[in-house]
């Protein structure tokens, strides 16, 4: 697949939401853990050799699953192949927790769900649509109907009986 690598590299140089030196191991069998500088920028996780300015690679964080692996470690995998995991080791469980939470909220999809949630909450409280001021209230991607049913409930708050 072709992609605009130059722009992606430029993105990797932007201020990061989170950045740290972590131990990283790829999903291939027999891969070895290595020290990497790991940077979260928008919905991409970039990883660098610790002494290099250019990224080795990037993971787009959509449809991913972040799981705890042993104390102090976590993994990232993707919905279509959950056993194919990228492993990361942190210095402390606290750091690990911080990363897991940040990565779970890093996707565009999560951001969109947040927007719909806040929109709905504000609308409930004020009777007004807060997206009108931005001129985007009619966009299909911000309507509740654009979400799959199980996520609709989560974004507007639901009752115990709506789970599963």
């Amino acid at each position: 697949m072709r992609y605009n690598e130059k722009e992606l590299r430029a993105l990797s140089q932007q201020p990061a939401e989170m950045a740290a030196e972590l131990s990283m191991r790829g999903p291939k069998k027999g891969s070895v853990a290595k020290r990497r500088l790991v940077k979260l920028v928008v919905n991409f996780l970039f990883y660098f050799r610790t002494d290099e300015a250019e990224p080795l690679g990037a993971l787009l964080l959509e449809r991913c699953r972040v799981s705890q692996e042993e104390p102090g470690g976590f993994s990232i995998s993707f919905i279509e192949d959950p056993e194919r995991k990228y492993y990361f080791e942190c210095c402390t469980q606290e750091q690990c927790q911080e990363w897991m939470e940040a990565l779970r909220r890093a996707s565009y999809e999560y951001m969109r769900c947040s927007l719909i949630f806040y929109r709905n909450e504000i609308q409930k409280m004020t009777g007004k649509d807060p997206l009108e001021q931005f001129g985007i209230s009619e966009e299909a991607r911000f309507q509740l109907s654009s979400l799959p049913r199980d996520r609709r409930a989560a974004c507007v708050g639901t009752q115990l009986d709506e789970l599963d």
Binding site: N43, R104, K124, L160
Partner: protein
């Protein structure tokens, strides 16, 4: 896949799945894409998902030909030989400029609008603004807690269902919370004034416990 020294790795396989998954897309349609300055345009099927603009040979294609990451771009109308022409332009030295053309005025306007608001940065600005508005309304803006929506994603983009657990806000304008149907025993429940993230975490545990009980009940003969 990209190969050779100096090229970045990207999780292209996951990207392809993201491109073709059955969630609703943000925008889709045919556009004409110019290969290079002196080459002809190709008619491609474009799909916008989040901040990623994928292009396929056609609507039925199983894999994208390519993707344009839309962070940091501007979208502008251009004067060109083709009708309904526009460009997705990036900044910086030797920056790319994607020359595109829609097939009607309406399609042109739709695409320019959709692409110019597609970036993650833009969406995040809007979300932060709404977060602040909500915090100000609830009078919790001062404690530094960032409220998060009542959602506990084990997987990004595919969450386990949860529910809203905030205590009712003060003031006559706020509607009362709907009554809770039933509730497990609640030892150690955090106080209603606890930060939202903590309440959310606590209720998430309760949810999982109850689900476990329910599922356990279902498998009994």
């Amino acid at each position: 896949m990209h190969g050779g020294p100096g090229t970045m790795k990207l999780n292209e396989r996951s990207l392809a799945f993201y491109a073709t998954c059955d969630a609703p897309v943000d925008h889709a349609g045919f556009l004409h894409k110019k290969g290079g300055r002196h080459t002809a345009s190709h008619r491609r099927w474009f799909v916008l998902r989040g901040n990623m603009l994928f292009y396929f040979e056609g609507p039925g294609s199983r894999e994208p030909l390519g993707v344009i990451v839309l962070e940091g771009c501007t979208v502008e109308l251009v004067e060109a030989a083709e009708e309904f022409a526009f460009a997705v332009r990036f900044t910086g030295a030797h920056a790319r400029c994607y020359a595109l053309a829609a097939e009607s005025q309406a399609a042109l306007e739709g695409w320019v609008k959709a692409l110019s608001r597609a970036s993650f940065h833009y969406l995040r600005l809007v979300v932060r603004e709404l977060e602040q508005q909500l915090a100000a309304m609830r009078g919790t803006g001062g404690d530094g807690e960032v409220t998060v929506p009542p959602r506990r994603p084990k997987e990004n983009g595919c969450c386990s269902a949860v529910w809203s657990a905030e205590p009712p806000a003060a003031g006559p304008r706020c509607p009362p919370l709907p009554p809770r149907r039933r509730r497990a025993s609640t030892p150690d429940r955090p106080p209603d004034s606890a930060p939202f993230a903590q309440l959310h975490e606590w209720y998430g545990q309760e949810v999982r416990a109850l689900r476990g009980q329910w599922l356990g009940g279902q498998t009994q003969p």
